[in-house]
């Protein structure tokens, strides 16, 4: 019996689970994070693969977090590792849209700059 509570469904560019959705808007080259992400490190694998995939396809990318209410430690760890990978790749143009009304975003999103100085953080 598979664990249906956290198992994501949908195509590789649209990952849905209970309370969350991560999907890639190809024309806008924007990756949307929505809802509450509280997966375990191994459960983040599909999202990690999606992030790597879009980064490999093009160095220009936007991450929209304004609808992401909650992100656990494994989730932020994945995001920071993605920033390290982007820095190593070089010549990327990545912009993150966050919301200052979601308390953790104001603190944790600016830290992305420590891993990827060129990243642009926009909090509204």
């Amino acid at each position: 019996m598979t664990d249906t509570t956290t198992r994501p469904t949908g195509s590789e560019t649209d990952i849905k689970g209970p309370g969350y959705r991560v999907w890639f808007d190809l024309p806008a080259r924007t990756l949307h994070f929505e809802g509450v992400l509280r997966l375990s490190t191994s459960e983040y694998k599909p999202i990690e693969d999606l992030l790597d995939g879009v980064l490999q396809a093009s160095p220009t990318l936007a991450l929209r977090m304004t609808e992401l209410q909650f992100l656990n430690s494994s989730g932020i760890n994945m995001l920071y590792k993605f920033a390290i990978a982007a820095r190593k790749k070089g010549e990327t143009e990545i912009k993150v849209h966050g919301s200052s009304t979601i308390p953790w975003q104001g603190k944790s999103l600016p830290n992305l700059k420590k891993f990827l100085p060129a990243i642009v953080i926009a909090l509204d």
Binding site: I76, K107, S108
Partner: protein, 408 residues
């Protein structure tokens, strides 16, 4: 990675091997590059660790705040619940409140048909008694009396539906179903009568007059539920059996518990009575049988306190006139009689010229106290003699009777 290569692994463990390996310039350059890469990865990992921890701390901080908020809400909710229970529970007992709070359906309007046992108690002659008292005294009496009765009803898991002045309407078998509701109700009625001794002692301690209570108990199908509007609804019972219980109660004298045939049947051989009689209440087609309860055996075993009052025979019988309130035979005419004896339990023996029907309600006026109306019910009758129980006894009459000399 440095340690992936067996040569480097050896060099890291053994300074001799390291000196030998680093003697080679190419190997030296490779070592420096590898060490720099390791350092960079180390820096990233430390940063990753610290930043992830920072995020975790932030989340935990928010969690702590949320926990405090929830705890504050729980405290507030408990205060509210306690308040609701106290306000609401004064009238409807904890069980009703708990049932209503626990089930969402419980808060909706609407009802269901259910067979319950209804208990109605009422004070005898309370209006007459109140006439000579101030409002504070009336409220003080009611609080002592209703408080004691509510405690007894609570003990028997009855649910007080309402207080109507000095009357109490309680139900057994709702909102929480009880298989033994008739037995609980009858035992509760007896316990209430027994508790009147303490109530009267408490009243006497406050310089307040004694009370007498009658109780009617009946088992029948009623509609129970939340009755009213969305603005104001109460958990209650309605139906003709509620009215019938009230009628049964109206046949009681002080200290008596009268129950219907249906309640009596439910108790079977566990019921102890003085006997039964037929009455034909207003608005009821068939005559009904009511039982004069003295006790209950079985799991709820309880019996009425023994009546020990002795007759006090007056040296001078007191002339009076009485009027039968509903009796057809006397038709509202004033009939002369003599009061020959009385006791502490508000019974009086009358010498009468014509027989009086049992349970007839009388209005009496003593010749010595013109204008002072007393009310009584005939509890025993024989040719030329009747025993009446006062249902409303003005204080002036009590004082007069007590002051009259008794026959030696």
């Amino acid at each position: 990675m440095l340690t992936d290569d067996a040569r480097w692994r050896r060099a890291l463990a053994d300074p001799e091997a390291a000196a030998e390996l680093l003697a080679d310039p190419a190997a030296r350059a490779a070592f420096v590059a590898a060490a720099a890469a390791l350092q960079a990865e180390h820096d990233d990992l430390v940063l990753l660790h610290d930043s992830t921890l920072e995020h975790a701390n932030e989340i935990e901080e928010q969690l702590a705040v949320k926990i405090e908020q929830v705890e504050a809400l729980v405290v507030e909710l408990e205060l509210r619940n306690t308040f609701i229970r106290q306000m609401f529970g004064r009238h409807v007992t904890d069980e009703v409140v708990n049932t209503l709070l626990a089930s969402p359906e419980g808060r909706q309007l609407g009802g269901e048909r259910r067979t319950l046992t209804i208990l109605i108690s009422d004070l005898r002659g309370f209006s007459t008694l109140c006439e000579g008292l101030g409002p504070e005294q009336v409220v003080a009496i009611l609080n002592i009396y209703l408080g004691a009765m509510a405690d007894v009803i609570g003990e028997y898991r009855g649910s007080i539906n309402e207080f109507i002045g000095d009357a109490i309407l309680a139900v057994f078998g709702a909102p929480v179903p009880q298989d033994d509701h008739p037995e609980r109700a009858v035992a509760c009625a007896i316990a209430m009568q027994r508790a009147m001794g303490e109530v009267n002692a408490a009243l006497a301690a406050h310089g307040l007059p004694a009370l007498e209570m009658g109780i009617g108990v009946h088992t029948g199908e009623v509609v129970v539920g939340n009755i009213g509007s969305n603005r104001r609804a109460k958990y209650g019972v309605v139906g003709r059996h509620v009215n019938l219980t009230s009628r049964i109660e109206s046949y009681t004298v002080g200290g008596q518990v009268l129950i219907s045939e249906s309640a009596a049947r439910a108790l079977g051989d566990r019921l102890r009575t003085r006997g039964c009689f037929e009455v034909r209440p207003k608005g009821v087609r068939e005559p009904i049988t009511i039982h004069d309860v003295t006790g209950v055996d079985g799991p709820f075993a309880i019996h009425m306190a023994e009546e020990t009052a002795e007759w006090r025979i007056l040296a001078q019988p007191q002339p009076l006139v009485f009027t039968a309130l509903e009796g057809k035979d006397t038709g509202g005419q004033e009939v002369p009689a003599l009061l020959v004896a009385h006791d502490e339990r508000h019974n009086a023996e009358l010498q009468v010229s014509a027989p009086l029907p049992l349970r007839a309600d009388l209005k009496l006026v003593l010749a010595a106290l013109p204008g002072v109306d007393a009310y009584a019910k005939v509890v025993a009758a024989s040719p030329g003699r009747a025993v009446v129980r006062f249902t409303a006894l003005p204080r002036a009459l009590t004082e007069l009777l007590d002051a009259l000399p008794a026959r030696a």
